[in-house]
Amino acid sequence: MLGDTVFWVLSVAAVVSGAMVFRFDSMPRATYALLLSLLCVGGLVIQLGLDYLGVVVILMMTIEMAIMAVFMVMFMMNPAGLMPMSMVHNTKGAAAVCAGVFAALAVGILLAPWPGRAGTMPDADPTKALGLALMGPQMLTMMTLGVTLFATIVSTVVLATRRGRYDRFGDDLRTRPADDPVRGGVGR
């Protein structure tokens, strides 16, 4: 009973706040609506018995949305939402596509002959099972994720840097003095 109540509250809150993300005018408000939606997803994951992953989702989304709020304010022309604004295109077509996608998914969910539960819940902590899987049979997944994250760090820095050392010192890094748009520094 309590579980049902928690499920419905979290589910409705997740979907409604997810929809409100695209209704709010104010950018911080939209960001925090998305945060609320993803926190509810984390709560549902915890309710399904995955305490560790649920907490990871909650902590990660909190930080991610805090960063996102900064970017929203940076990049939107009307961050405070003091005037109503509409920055959308092709609403009708998108609504039709999304209704179709949801209908197709719902039909699949309701009609699919889902198999029964295979095996029992692990007696031990599911977190321990996850750790053993990641360090054992799923090691390749873990290594791929690690390399992907490292590549992401490198590529984001490259993309976000305005002028790197190759711009300043030439392709062979030997140009002196550095080719800077503004002169300055010791001896220049």
Binding site: F7, M68, M76, A133, R162
Partner: protein, 101 residues
């Protein structure tokens, strides 16, 4: 509560996110739609793990993968927006259409 209910909620989150990703003109708002879609994937993976295959950890590994995809998508998305804005002062999807076929 059963598997179907959880999956329906996940499908609703996915569809709402898809709507946002398709309609929003701002690239940052578009990424918020993508986040919602991945949130739906996370919920579906957790439900599948709980109701169908709790003995194996594959569902949990799928959640780890989805969370990583979320982080990578955010980081690369913001880096691309920053680079695009630096280059051409563009932050709308309609103005960034060079690769249109």
């Amino acid at each position: 509560m059963n598997l179907e209910l959880f999956l329906l909620v996940a499908a609703a989150l996915f569809s709402v996110g898809l709507f946002g990703a398709l309609t929003q003109q701002s690239i940052v708002m578009l990424m918020m739609g993508l986040e919602l879609m991945i949130g739906g994937v996370i919920l579906a993976a957790a439900a599948i793990w709980h109701y169908i295959a709790p003995a194996s950890s594959d569902g949990q590994v799928l959640i780890v993968l989805a969370v990583t995809v979320m982080a990578v998508e955010m980081a690369v998305g913001f880096a691309v927006v920053t680079a695009l804005f630096r280059q051409r002062e563009v932050d709308m999807t309609d103005e960034a259409a060079e690769l249109r076929g």
